[in-house]
């Protein structure tokens, strides 16, 4: 209103790109370690062990009983485990834990103001913390994918090794790792946003979880409005009409990958808008 009477700001030199990079790397330095070593990370490690467990049993059974199914069956077994246990449970809730708490955790611990008082755009804070969350998640869960994948073929000995060297296994593994990364990118952005939006982000997380879970049983149109639809379309071994999941018409990779990335960027953009107006109010001070 009385704008004219305020002194004009000095020429607002835009922050150079190189400074953003060092600010983001400063954030990574601090944050990745924190996400890997905090108490909350214990839950992540527990989640990461979950998908390994059935394959340990699988190995134990092979050792004790001995009769192994055909190796193609084994890759179906892994595909089933990956799509249900890994995507639907483990990665989903790992994202809930890590990404809803990117900012909310700092509010709970009354430490957000230290970030807000740095000469860093709030948008850069969002991106920096998000990337840190991604790195930490990838480190834990890509190891988990690799271990569980190797465990499936371990009982096959030489035949299993051939499956890697001259068979499709390496391709499958890389695809699963790619899907894992995409899943973290997508769900991570979603839960970063819900963590900013809702006072109790567990409720939206459960709602989204149920939606993603029943999604496969919905009409083809509705299936398209979910993250898991695209992720599952990208899995290398389709589950052909099994009891677990029926994908109406899988989205092609040229659509799924850029689509997921676009949605991720859009949600991150919304989160940036939201955080620009975020105020520090810890309550009980």
């Amino acid at each position: 209103m009385s704008a004219p009477s305020l002194p004009a700001a000095p020429p607002q030199t835009e922050v150079p790109w190189s400074l953003w990079k060092s600010q983001v790397s400063g954030l990574l330095r601090l944050e990745v370690k924190k996400y890997l070593l905090s108490k909350r990370a214990l839950l992540l490690y527990f989640l990461a062990f979950l998908p390994i467990f059935p394959f340990l049993i699988w190995n134990l059974r092979a050792m004790l009983v001995g009769d192994l199914p055909d190796i193609a069956q084994a890759s179906m077994f892994y595909a089933g485990m990956f799509q249900t246990l890994m995507l639907h449970l483990v990665i989903f809730f790992a994202c809930v834990i890590t990404f809803t708490n990117l900012f909310r955790g700092e509010v709970l611990e009354h430490s957000l103001h230290y970030y807000f008082l740095c000469p860093v755009r709030r948008e850069v804070l969002v991106v920096g913390k998000y990337i840190a969350g991604q790195f930490a998640s990838w480190i834990i869960f890509l190891i988990c994918v690799v271990i569980s994948f190797c465990l499936v073929y371990f009982p096959y000995g030489g035949q299993g090794l051939d499956y890697f060297t001259s068979g499709p296994a390496i391709g499958h593994l890389l695809a699963y790792m790619g899907v894992t990364v995409l899943a973290f990118l997508g769900y991570g952005a979603v839960f970063l946003f819900t963590g900013l939006l809702f006072r109790n982000p567990i409720i939206p997380a459960i709602v989204i979880w149920i939606w993603e879970g029943i999604n496969a049983f919905l009409p083809a149109m509705l299936q398209k409005i979910s993250v898991s639809h695209y992720l599952i379309s990208l899995c290398p071994v389709p589950l052909s009409g099994g009891p677990i999941r029926v994908i109406a018409d899988p989205a092609p990779a040229w659509l799924s990958v850029p689509g997921l990335l676009l949605v991720t960027l859009a949600v991150l953009f919304l989160a940036s808008l939201k955080i620009r107006h975020m105020e520090i109010s810890y309550g009980g001070e």
């Binding site: 305020l6 070593l37 000469p119 860093v120 001070e285």
Partner: protein, 316 residues
Amino acid sequence: MSDSQDIIFRNVSKFYGEVLGVNRVDLNLAPGITGLVGPNGSGKTTLMNLMTGLLQPTRGEISILGLPPDRPELLFNRVGYCTQYDSFPRGMNGFQFIYSFLRIHGLVHPQAEDMTWKALEMVGLQDAAKRKVAAYSKGMRQRIKLGQAIAHQPDVLVLDEPLNGLDPMARAEIIDLFKRLSEKGKHVIVSSHILHELDVISDQVVMLSNGYIVAEGDIHGVREEMTDVPMQILVRCDKPAMLASRIFQEDHAVEAQMHSDGQGLLLRTRDADSFFLLMNRMVTQEGLRVESVAPADDDVHSVYLYLIGNQGGSSS
């Protein structure tokens, strides 16, 4: 004289929903030490959070050295804020705490390391640098926060109750640090709920009450403004008659009314400072037992009274 060296509030109000934080604040702060004084809940923290963009004003405009508070990437190259929140990122030692955030500022390692040691030295915590902040005493935590706020050598230093929890030695050192910074032409904005703590060092005082600025200017001006008009004080004590007779031996008392139960009096004085000095003398030297002292009118004076009456009552 509003140039971009100043901190300017134009008709700024902040409401937390229905709750008033501050209302219709107009301020123009020049470099130097500014004391922001007011009782708890008067709006000091709100004002400081508005200054630093941690809160957004419901109405009005703020300019810090010509910069708007909602541009952190520009603002915090020049502003440092030591908040009242006694919380720290987990698991860090004193060095890491300051260093990590300097890295987020975008500084490279050698520079950040150098500035961290400088800051630690300024607040006298070099020896405790490698100990966990969580194991620090309240006074050390207060100082490491201060160190963190000045580490990037800001031109504007905002400090929310920075003397809280410091022992007299540390207090003197920190106040000395404020003086040195202000002599370099920087803004040092310090809040306190104890006027006495700040009046000697402040170049200007802003007095807050219930979200409004009630007085502003150099400390002599504020004192005069406050002492011009007589104010009412309610004292409950064991010898009100004696107190009354002593008051009238000095020339600032206007009126005194005894309570009917003989356990108190209502007085009007033009100089609450002198009254408190007198009363304190009677307590220490003549065994006067004071049960309570309270302002009898709830206007500007009562705030002042509260502030000066609190002289010994700094929390630890």
